[in-house]
């Protein structure tokens, strides 16, 4: 028994002296805690009577403590908050024990307060949690930590905008992709994108350049007060800088506010009829399409079909026309008389269309210089051409008055004399047929009296089948100056001398009319008495 007791103490002393200092520990501490090995360090983690308290852990792990005090981070998440540290981070399981066993595939990053979404969810932990992204030097120097990052995008991402824009990247960019900045609302800027600006590529306005030897795209301080900051002023400042007074952003060609548009500021002031036109009358496609306007024919069709070409070029319409209307030419008689056909007499009062619009369309060239080119030659073929060569009416008629005839009748076979000289041409040369239809007779008009005059004597004085009135009548009064009844077969003597003619020469009925019978053929008294 005694030997047994001695042996027991021997074993106890041996074990206590050789290993007591370390052997109370239930196992080796993990590598990161290995400096806490030893019996003197137990209470650095363990609280007497209270196991391992969070306070003890946090005495060393100040980074976590500060996060907890700030009520931030994974350890303050509802899932973790209130737990004992040792429930997740145990120890005394050997040097190789992973106090933090981190499974990136299972870790719920949302619990950290920073929700991984979009492209972030596809990133490896070390893409963000690396020393170069940690600002705090103490944390950065740790071999293994997921602390030290802030929620600011620029913690991990380079500032592409090089401090030209606020650092709140998420105001514009989504976490799916840096490009495009889907959350950016251009309408919230001082320059809302409207119309075609919405389809313009960003780089068209926000040019890509280089800054600090890095690719850089300017987004801030882009001048935008005037359109010409980006657009070329095709009007060369004729209309000022307020492009929006006329143009819309829908298209440069989309014009608005035209009621106020002062066309006079263009090279083509709108006057008279032009002012009444709608824009699209001339600007067929786009108001802003370049429009030739030097010549009228740039817009208007050449009505005259090239009649006024000069050296192959259409002359200005304004020579005759004005913007007050195509009709109503400003071409004056004076200018007409400067031409080859001077207007005189009745021509001065003749409307233009009488000569220049013989058909449906006006015509100003090759319309003829002769009267018959305009006037109807009613005398053809009734008057021999020898009396008006080349059908020149002016041989008889006057331009001043058509009815005023200036024809020398003496050149004809029938010289006018006596009462004939006071007659109108029409008196002899125009007749009516039985139906009352007028017809003219010139060449075929006989010189016999009865061609014009009625033989009221019913051929009593015919001589060789012709009645020559002038054998008896003469003078304007149709007098019978040379008749001597005594030269007849019945001389007037006695009482017969004073008798009226009708006492002896009675009316004879001839159809519905009657005539005086001059050639009685009887000389016997009883014929009358």
């Amino acid at each position: 028994m005694r030997i047994g007791i001695i042996y027991t103490f021997f074993v106890l002393i041996l074990t206590c002296t050789s290993s007591l200092t370390a052997q109370i520990s239930p196992g080796d501490l993990a590598e990161v805690h290995s400096h806490l090995e030893g019996i003197s360090n137990c209470t650095k983690c363990h609280t007497l009577g209270a196991k391992v308290t969070n306070e003890k852990c946090l005495e060393c792990h100040q980074e976590v403590k500060s996060r907890l005090m700030l009520k931030k981070g994974y350890h303050f998440s509802p899932k973790i908050r209130g737990k004992e540290c040792v429930s997740c981070h145990s120890d005394h399981h050997g040097r190789k024990f992973e106090i933090v066993r981190f499974n990136p595939d299972k870790f719920d990053h949302n619990q950290t307060g920073y929700i991984l979404a979009g492209a972030h969810s596809k990133k490896a932990c070390k893409d963000c949690h690396k020393a170069e992204n940690i600002a705090n030097i103490k944390i950065r120097e740790k071999k293994f930590t997921y602390l030290g990052l802030t929620r600011r995008c620029l913690t991990c991402h380079a500032d592409y905008h090089q401090q030209t824009l606020p650092s709140t990247c998420s105001d514009c960019h989504s976490n799916v992709s840096f490009k495009p900045a889907t959350k950016f609302d251009h309408s919230a800027t001082n320059f809302p994108l409207t119309g075609s600006h919405q389809t313009v590529g960003c780089a068209d306005c926000h040019t890509v350049t280089s800054k600090n030897e890095v690719r850089f795209q300017e987004f801030a301080n882009i001048p935008h007060q005037n359109c010409t900051e980006c657009h070329t002023d095709v009007h060369q400042n004729k209309f000022g800088q307020m492009c929006r007074d006329c143009h819309t952003t829908a298209s440069f060609n989309s014009i608005m506010g035209m009621s106020d548009f002062n066309h006079s500021r263009t090279g083509f002031p709108l006057e008279n009829k032009h002012a009444e036109l709608t824009c699209s009358s001339c600007h067929k496609r786009h108001l802003t399409d370049p429009l030739k306007h030097e010549k009228c024919t740039d817009c208007h069709a050449d009505y005259h079909s090239g009649e006024f070409l000069k050296e192959g070029v259409v002359q200005s319409c304004s020579y005759c026309h004005s913007t007050k209307g195509f009709a109503g030419s400003s071409y004056t008689i004076e200018r007409h008389n400067e031409g080859t056909f001077q207007l005189k007499g009745a021509h001065l009062a003749t409307p233009c269309f009488v000569c220049h619009k013989k058909e449906e369309k006006w015509s100003f060239r090759e319309i003829g210089m002769n009267c018959v080119d305009c006037h109807n030659n009613i005398h053809d073929p009734f008057i021999s051409e020898k009396y008006y060569p080349e059908s020149d009416c002016r041989n008889c008629h006057q331009e001043t008055r058509w009815a005023s005839i200036n024809f020398d009748h003496s050149v004809t076979e029938f010289v006018l004399s006596g009462a004939h000289t006071t007659q109108t041409c029409r008196s002899c040369h125009f007749k009516n047929d039985q139906n009352g239809v007028e017809y003219q007779v010139f060449s075929e008009l006989s010189s016999h009296c009865t061609s014009c005059h009625q033989d009221i004597h019913y051929k009593q004085f015919d001589l060789d089948g012709k009645t020559d009135c002038l054998r008896c009548h003469a003078g304007n009064l149709w007098e019978i100056p040379g008749f001597d009844h005594n030269k007849t077969a019945f001389k007037l003597e006695g009482k017969h001398e004073g008798l009226a003619c009708t006492k002896c020469h009675k009316h004879v009925r001839a159809g519905e009319s009657s005539y005086l019978l001059y050639k009685i053929g009887e000389t016997r008294c009883e014929y009358c008495h």
Binding site: G4, I24, P26
Partner: protein, 288 residues
């Protein structure tokens, strides 16, 4: 051994085996992990040494050992308790508790043997193994029914007059009778110096003798129960011969065994107390 006692022993063995199997079955996936991985096992909180089950096993195992040791020692040392049951039965209960206890302690440690408490654990293992050896030595030394060691003379007196028994009870031919009597006689043999070699050699010889006896018995017209009883008798005689042979040596060994068994038990208990104290001081109080 009565049937009731056999059943009692059977139940104790079953409890130990059941405990071992249940703990192994439910804890295998956890205990088979490397130390560094166990923390991440779902059963860590329950099966870790400080867990609900782990800590409970430790406390229960400790109580088993303390109760098993104290009861047996008290019964053995205090004369006033000598009338409370046979010492042999107390020893069996001591073996039961001190087998079950280490098993529970083993699972309490979660097979992690380090630190000061490992000394206690290995002491426990030493006590357990020495207990197994002690039990073997104990069996080799015949005891009285009260558990007292018999002297050599007392043992020799236990030997049966095998010739008389065989003649009176069994009708054997002379050749068989002589051979069986010869086999049960203690022989003067040349022994090997090494105990273990000698033990094995004797075991082989005895087995050969038993086979010879069995074949001899088979030649005679004995009933099956007579054959069984006869063989049991022969075995007992041969075993007794060996025990008589080894008695002095076993008695010496048993003295030395105490020197090994008890100190390890003391070391185990002292360090266990330190371990328990430290855990309580650090706040690990199980359900209390």
């Amino acid at each position: 051994m009565s049937f009731g006692h056999k059943f009692y022993i059977f139940v104790l063995v079953i409890i130990v085996l059941f405990t071992l199997i249940v703990l192994s079955y439910f804890g295998f996936s956890y205990y088979s992990l490397p130390l560094e991985e166990r923390f991440f096992h779902n059963a860590y909180k329950d099966l870790k040494p400080g867990g609900f089950w782990g800590h409970g096993l430790g406390i229960l195992g400790t109580l088993c050992i303390i109760i098993g040791v104290l009861l047996y020692i008290t019964r053995k040392r205090l004369r006033v308790l000598s009338r409370f049951g046979l010492l042999k039965h107390w020893l069996e209960f001591h073996i039961f508790l001190c087998t079950l206890g280490p098993i529970l302690i083993l699972f309490h440690t979660s097979f992690k043997f380090g630190g000061l408490v490992a000394v206690s654990f290995w002491s426990m293992v030493a006590v357990f193994l020495s207990g197994v050896i002690g039990r073997f030595i104990y069996i080799q030394i015949p005891h009285t029914i009260e558990g007292r060691e018999m002297s050599l003379n007392e043992v020799q007196e236990m030997k049966t007059n095998i010739g008389t028994v065989l003649t009176e009870s069994y009708s054997l031919d002379n050749e068989s009778l002589n051979l069986i009597i010869e086999s049960t006689k203690k022989k003067v043999e040349r022994y090997h110096d090494n105990f273990f070699v000698r033990f094995v050699q004797n075991f082989i010889k005895d087995q050969r003798t038993i086979r010879q006896v069995r074949s001899v018995v088979g030649r005679n017209n004995l009933s099956r129960s007579e054959q069984k009883h006869l063989l049991h008798l022969i075995r007992h005689e041969i075993t007794l011969n060996r025990k008589i042979e080894r008695l002095v040596m076993m008695q010496n060994l048993f003295k030395y065994w105490h020197v090994a068994h008890l100190p390890f038990a003391f070391v185990m208990l002292v360090i266990m107390l330190i371990h328990v104290t430290v855990t309580i001081v650090l706040g690990y109080r199980w359900i209390f």
